[in-house]
């Protein structure tokens, strides 16, 4: 019986997986020039139905431009954008079907929460009675039923954010665009809203494209992340793959922390051969720190060990972060705090070691 339910669920997931294989949105070699500056350059990207895709990149890398191109507020200089198999390059934004959450929410300040939510329905010609119904349901969903008649200015930042999200979703658009949706919120609220957005994504199953420069947000929300740099895509992958197997040095350092072995004085022993113009990296949490005299592990033949001196130690809640000088370079080590652990202080000699298979080779 239990087995039966399980297999049914499995089958269902397989079907939906197949469905989600269809491409909903496609950028085809899109370039947007502002004068001589290419805000977006030769961008090609496919987004699958139901996917939560995040565009991540430093300031000025062209994220907003990419989103505005998709929304139809900016026309591409060259290339094409295809939505559900139809080119939309010449379709004005108001003829497209999409929900957008703007960075500063863009709630209409002269309309109440209810009227804000009604707006997209009204524009689609939904009858008043149906509108009231839908708005009521949506307000319940975002826990704002008591605030329906407030003006946006009378809401807190988090509440405004939820109204914006509700307004983008209420007319059931095929996909959702979020521009730095949590940028204006404080850390605590941001975490709450991440969970909220995630659960709404699960519930409504909308294809979502989210722009952010917050890597934590990208990692926790997305099915896939696109890392952009200077108008180009640097790498596209799942959060785990992106963190574990960054393709370039930029991705490795932009997403989390990485030790780069560029001009190391010790001979780096890897299982892989390193082509030119690449650099070997290792994540700080993959490096083990121990006293020089500590007994070695049984898997020592798979590891490389170097000795160094502790330069700095920072205690950061669940983690301890060491900065260790090895010859002329500095290696960062992150260790989970556990009881009975030996703590090393600046000036102490230590031995570092890591699994050779944990080294990654990335392009410069």
């Amino acid at each position: 019986m239990n087995e039966h339910v399980k297999s049914a669920a499995l089958a269902e997931r397989k079907v939906s997986a197949k469905m989600s294989d269809c491409v909903e949105i496609e950028f085809r070699a899109v370039t947007k020039l502002y004068g001589a500056l290419a805000a977006v350059k030769d961008l090609s990207l496919s987004v699958r139905r139901g996917e939560f895709l995040t565009i991540l990149g430093p300031s000025g890398s062209g994220k907003t431009t990419a989103l505005m191109l998709l929304a139809g507020f900016v026309a591409p200089t060259s290339g094409d954008i295809v939505i559900s198999g139809r080119s939309v390059a010449s379709v004005p934004s108001y003829r497209r079907d999409q929900g957008i959450v703007f960075q500063s929410y863009a709630l209409f300040p002269h309309l109440s929460v209810r009227r804000n939510l009604e707006f997209p329905l009204e524009m689609r010609g939904v009858k008043a009675a149906n509108r009231a119904n839908q708005v009521g349901r949506m307000l319940d969903r975002v826990h704002l039923a008591d605030y329906a008649d407030r003006m946006p200015s009378q809401l807190s930042g988090g509440q405004q954010q939820r109204v914006a999200l509700a307004r983008a979703l209420i007319a059931d658009p095929p996909f959702l665009l979020l521009d730095e949706p949590l940028g204006a919120l404080d850390r605590k609220l941001r975490e709450q809203m991440q969970i909220e957005i995630k659960s709404m994504h699960r519930e409504f199953g909308k294809t979502t494209i989210c722009v952010t420069h917050d890597q934590e947000e990208a990692l926790s929300l997305s099915d896939r992340i696109v890392v952009m740099r200077a108008g180009r895509i640097e790498q596209t992958d799942t959060p785990e793959a992106l963190y574990d197997r960054p393709a370039t040095r930029f991705v490795a350092t932009f997403l989390g922390e990485a030790n780069l072995f560029e001009h190391s004085e010790f001979e780096l022993r890897t299982d892989l051969d390193q082509p030119p113009n690449t650099v070997a990296i290792i994540r700080p949490e993959r490096v083990r720190i121990a006293a020089p005299t500590a007994p070695t592990c049984p898997d020592q033949h798979l590891r490389q060990a170097v000795s160094g001196t502790v330069e700095d130690m920072i205690y950061a809640g669940p983690l301890r972060r060491y900065q260790v000088r090895v010859g002329r370079s500095t290696v960062v080590v992150r260790e989970h705090v556990a009881s009975g652990q030996k703590i090393f202080y600046p000036g102490e000699a230590v031995r570092l070691d890591w699994l050779r298979s944990d080294l990654r080779i990335v392009a410069e």
């Binding site: 139809g72 934004s93 960075q103 209409f108 997209p120 524009m123 930042g157 007319a171 665009l177």
Partner: protein, 590 residues
């Protein structure tokens, strides 16, 4: 579709430009040709003008009076603005309202008030003679002194408002920083505050100077025949002589003087401004910089509107010495008395019960108001004025709002050039606008018609509306429009449902100013109306110097009380609507 969208901004300015070209642009161009004797091309008209010493005398006198009045305005206006800016919040608001009231009051009424005060049988002389301080009336009127008193009185708010707007935006921490580095109060003022306030000095001076150049009613009423201004000469020529070429030449001499003096004056102080702009990172195209001085001149007008952002907290000079405070208070009292008492006197006089104008009245009554409303010549002129002003407000608000909306969507370069052109009717000396409008409407057979008056008033009113609505649009978040469009609202519905409701205060404010501008207009009106349509200002103008009909006091009082009403309207429109976003802001930050 995209092409249509990018071309639309220019389309939106079309109604404004049709109006502008028809009433101002085309006629002034053909007047220029005419003054140059086209198609024969010669400077005959100019030579004739310059060959008459009387003309040269008037020209020099015009410059002299304008510079004098500007200097006096600066000397009085700068300390006034400084004291207002450093006053505590509540006093500051009161002072600003007190400066705004005379600014919104009809210049004609204020001129009338001064004839009552300074006249040979006016208030001051009555007191002097009655008290035996003078045996016969002292000549206070019909001389240069009276001209300055009257002109400065009218132009002073135009000096104070731009100064205020610049002084408000001076970072208070800069002065504090200078003080912390050991600068004494006066040094801090001299080395930090004054240089930073120079753009305001420039704006205010330019506005006042150009305003003075176009004056003729006040100098005529208070200065008599000797104090003729070039603008008076132009009006006389236009109405008396048939030689339009000669009139046009005189007008272009005045325009040339304006341009020359302004470019010298503009260049002088522009250095500091350019540096400030450079630091902010505003790029200016090189081909524009030739017209830069002109362009800045056209942009000055916006400054006085920006003055309305006075919510800013300001630096109050700490540790003021007592006597400085007393001196400041005394100075402010004198300035405020100067600005406000003439209007008050007119209001009080209008309630007099006597058979002729007297101050203070021995008894009070409403008889002159009754007389006003029973005299059909007064009521006809009142209804003419109201009718024209309403039409102007409707027309100019429509064209100006569309233009402002279109301008906001253009590239900065085209925007600045087109704005410059749209603002010409309020940046050129008014008499030149009058000559051009006269010529343009003459060809359309609209002289002496209400339509003609409405069109002539609308070009200036349109400019006011553009300035005010553009300022409102600058604070408008364009993302709200994008949001509406992303919800399938087309451009028209987006404008109607989102943009319009949010910029409505600006539009209504623009309409109010368009109404005031038309309702008070006397110079252009006197040239266009062809004696057949009498508006209230024209009817007043006939009576200003004579003081025969005491009803004029009642009219003046009505016109003085009107601005208070307007201020109230503006208060309701602006402050109340502004309160909300501010609260939102505070909450978002909390």
């Amino acid at each position: 579709m995209l092409q249509k969208l990018t071309r639309a901004p220019f389309g939106l300015t079309l109604p404004s430009f049709t109006l502008l070209l028809m009433v101002f642009g085309v006629p002034i161009t053909s007047l220029l040709f005419m003054s140059l004797n086209a198609p024969d091309w010669s400077f005959v008209n100019y030579q004739r003008f310059l060959s008459q010493s009387a003309n040269i005398y008037v020209l020099l006198q015009t410059i002299e009076i304008s510079i004098g009045a500007t200097a006096i305005c600066l000397v009085i206006g700068y300390p006034t603005a400084y004291l207002i800016v450093t006053a505590p919040e509540r006093q500051r608001t009161v002072f600003i309202v007190l400066v705004l009231i005379p600014w919104l009051t009809s210049g004609l009424v204020r001129t009338y008030a001064w004839t009552v005060i300074l006249g040979d049988h006016g208030l001051i002389n009555n007191v002097l003679v009655a008290s035996g301080l003078a045996s016969s009336p002292v000549p206070l009127i019909y001389n240069r002194f009276a001209v300055f008193v009257g002109m400065v009185h009218i132009m002073l708010p135009m000096m104070i408002l731009p100064l205020l707007s610049v002084m408000y935006n001076i970072d208070k921490s800069l002065v504090a920083a200078a003080r912390s580095m050991g600068a004494r109060p006066f040094t801090a003022f001299w080395r930090v505050f004054l240089p930073l306030s120079l753009p305001g000095v420039r704006s205010g001076s330019l506005l006042v100077f150009v305003g003075c150049l176009g004056f003729y009613i006040t100098p005529q009423a208070l200065g008599g025949l000797r104090e003729t201004m070039l603008s008076k000469l132009i009006v006389n020529q236009l109405l008396v002589s048939a030689n339009l070429g000669a009139t046009a030449a005189t007008a272009f001499v005045l325009l040339a003087v304006t341009a020359v003096v302004l470019s010298i004056f503009g260049l002088d102080l522009s250095g500091s401004r350019e540096r400030v702009r450079g630091a902010v990172g505003t790029k200016r195209r090189s081909w524009l910089s030739a017209q830069g001085a002109m362009g800045r001149w056209f942009n000055e007008l916006g400054t006085s509107w920006r003055a309305s952002r006075w919510q800013r907290q300001l630096y109050r000079a700490a540790a003021q010495v007592r006597w400085v405070e007393f001196a400041g208070a005394g100075f402010m009292t004198v300035v405020m008395v100067y600005l406000l008492v003439p209007g008050l006197i007119v209001i009080i006089m209008s309630f007099s019960a006597g058979d002729f104008i007297e101050f203070p009245p021995s008894a009070f009554s409403l008889r002159w108001y009754v007389a006003f409303f029973e005299d059909s010549t007064w009521t006809t002129s009142l209804s003419n004025s109201v009718e024209v002003a309403i039409d102007v407000a409707l027309l100019a608000t429509a064209t100006g709002t569309l233009a402002a909306y279109g301008l906001g969507r253009m590239s900065p370069q085209s925007r600045s050039i087109l704005t410059m052109m749209i603002l010409m009717p309020i940046t050129f000396p008014v008499v030149i606008v009058g000559v051009a409008a006269y010529y343009g409407l003459f060809h359309l057979h609209l002289i002496g018609t209400k339509t003609g008056l409405v069109l002539a008033h609308s070009i200036g009113a349109n400019a006011y509306v553009v300035v005010i609505v553009a300022a409102t649009l600058a604070n408008f978040d364009r993302r709200l429009e994008q949001a509406a469009m992303s919800m399938r609202a087309g451009p028209l519905r987006t404008f109607w449902r989102v943009t319009l409701p949010l910029i409505r205060p600006g539009i209504l404010g623009g309409a109010v100013f368009a109404f005031i501008a038309s309702f008070d207009e006397a110079v252009v009106t006197s040239m266009i109306s062809g004696y057949s349509i009498r508006t209230l200002p024209l009817r007043m103008l006939e009576n200003v110097t004579q003081q025969i009909d005491p009803s004029i006091a009642a009219v003046g009082s009505l016109l003085t009380l009107l601005p208070v009403l307007w201020l109230f309207v503006l208060y309701v429109l602006y402050w109340r609507s502004r309160g909300k976003p501010q609260r939102a802001h505070a909450q978002a930050e909390a």
